[in-house]
Amino acid sequence: MNIYIEGIGFGVIAAASILLGAMGFTLQFGLTNVLNIGYGALMTFGAFSCYLLHVWGVNVWVSVALAGMATSLLTLLVAKTILTVYVRRGAALFEMAMITFGVALILENGLAALTRSNTYILNMGLEHAHTLGPIRFTTTQLILVILAVSVFILLDTFLNLTKVGKALRATAVDPDLARTSGIATNRIVTIAWLISGFLCGMAGAVFTIDIFTVNAFTGDSLMPLVIVAALMGKAGSVRGAVFASLVLGIVTQVVSIAGASSYDSVVAYGALAIALLANPKLLQGGLVAERVQITV
């Protein structure tokens, strides 16, 4: 029985990277309506950025922040150069998803070519384990959880208490009304790409720190959990992503302990299927169901 309680502890740690990724994904999808299949590849970019910076001697937590910034800029570049071309041509939701899938293939295979498809070890050194009842964790793992929770609190505060944050929420609900209210929606959408890219990069970096390894497809293993957490928590809802991430983190770790570690994606999609049966509107983008306008 203790091993399953320990699994809950691992689940909370795993939820940290899922949460960071899900907050970015839900913000991006909720505001732009672009179902970004390339999000996993961008998380991989964040993971590699963190790894390289750490190897070059940068403090690992500074590396996480810098990886977030680098991914943020890459995300904005992809949005404003590639995605915007197709939005102007009138691409619909499914077409945009396929275009982001193409972007993912280019990014991942480019990284695979550069790294010769090697897997690299992120050396965090030996750490003393702390215990809390049957749950064991390292200082690094504790910091990962604190980091994810802190970022959530900051983002939630930003969205609910600042003028730009409220404008982000308003634009997500109705970009036309936002525009005729005087909100500079183009600038707001740019901010959404930057923030979501930052969170995406941080998620990749945190995931790599958690599992100690990185390769050209690292983000892909996190991607299903991130998408499911974002959609289960309702697209556009950062608060919803928190609970969904925690549930998914714990369930997948407990499933792993039960001996079915390769089935965590199956569990994630199963959870999404159940959630969609309960509420089919979860798959619709934006904070409300009315809007399907893609904004890049």
Partner: protein, 245 residues
């Protein structure tokens, strides 16, 4: 003082002209009603005035400032306020946050005092300031939509069918109390309305738009007594030349 002037304006979608050579004026303290059958181009005309659609032909100005080539955000700064027919508030934001978004172009320091001023105009909204806009009744929601548009202190307030989807008694309250009250306080109002009788009863002037063109215009009291308004609506107005009465 406030004078919105549209001269021979044409608006549409891409190459398709929906409004073709329409002219109208709105002065301070006036309620000007735009009426016409479905598909006449009324909403297209006001979307063109607020900048959601580009001006194809003609001239458009407010208080002498040319609005022809400026963005919707810039038009708000120049005094154009707009309340759409539907989707007129941000439902997941609170009443207070909706008003903040209406005052987005204002400085942070002046938003709070402006909200208090607007809530004095709509005291019914004051105790609901923390309630989500999506949880308001139809009448409360429309008042919030108008209050949101008033936040930026517009010279002219454009209302696209403010009584759409409202019960008759609530619609009467919106027209007779809210809209008429605003005009009596000096607000210039351009209003599209399907409840023609009710709207003309409070209006100063009216325009009848048919197939993208102003087919009839005149003082509201005169238009109310015009017996062929119905024929204009149902015949498409093609046999009746443009007229002013």
């Amino acid at each position: 003082m406030a004078k919105l002037v549209a001269e021979e304006v044409s608006f549409g979608y891409g190459p398709l002209k929906i409004v073709n050579g329409a002219s109208l004026q709105v002065g301070q303290g006036e309620i000007v009603v735009l009426i016409g059958p479905n598909g006449a181009g009324k909403s297209t005309l006001v979307k063109g005035i607020n900048g959601q659609l580009p001006l194809i032909d003609g001239n458009l100005s407010l208080n002498g400032t040319d609005l022809s080539r400026i963005s919707p955000q810039a038009r708000i700064r120049h005094g154009v306020g707009y309340v759409p027919q539907l989707r007129d508030v941000f439902p997941t934001l609170s009443v207070w946050e909706n008003l903040e978004m209406g005052g987005y172009i204002l400085s942070n320091a002046s938003v709070r005092s402006r909200i208090e001023e607007v809530l004095e105009i709509f005291p019914v909204l004051a105790p609901m300031r923390h309630r989500k806009a999506g949880a308001l009744s139809g009448g409360e929601r429309k008042m919030l939509a108008i209050a949101r548009a008033l936040m930026a202190e517009p010279s002219v307030l454009i209302l696209d069918e403010p009584t759409s989807n409202l019960a008759p008694n609530v619609a009467a309250k919106v027209i007779n109390e809210v809209v008429a009250g605003l005009a009596s306080a000096g607000q210039a109002v351009l209003m599209i309305e399907q409840r023609v009788e009710m709207a003309l009863a409070v209006a100063t002037w009216g325009y009848v738009l048919v197939q993208g063109q102003v087919r009839l215009s005149g003082a509201a009291t005169t238009l109310r007594e015009t017996s062929d308004l119905g024929s204009l609506f149902f015949s498409g107005g093609m046999s009746i030349p443009p007229a002013s009465i």
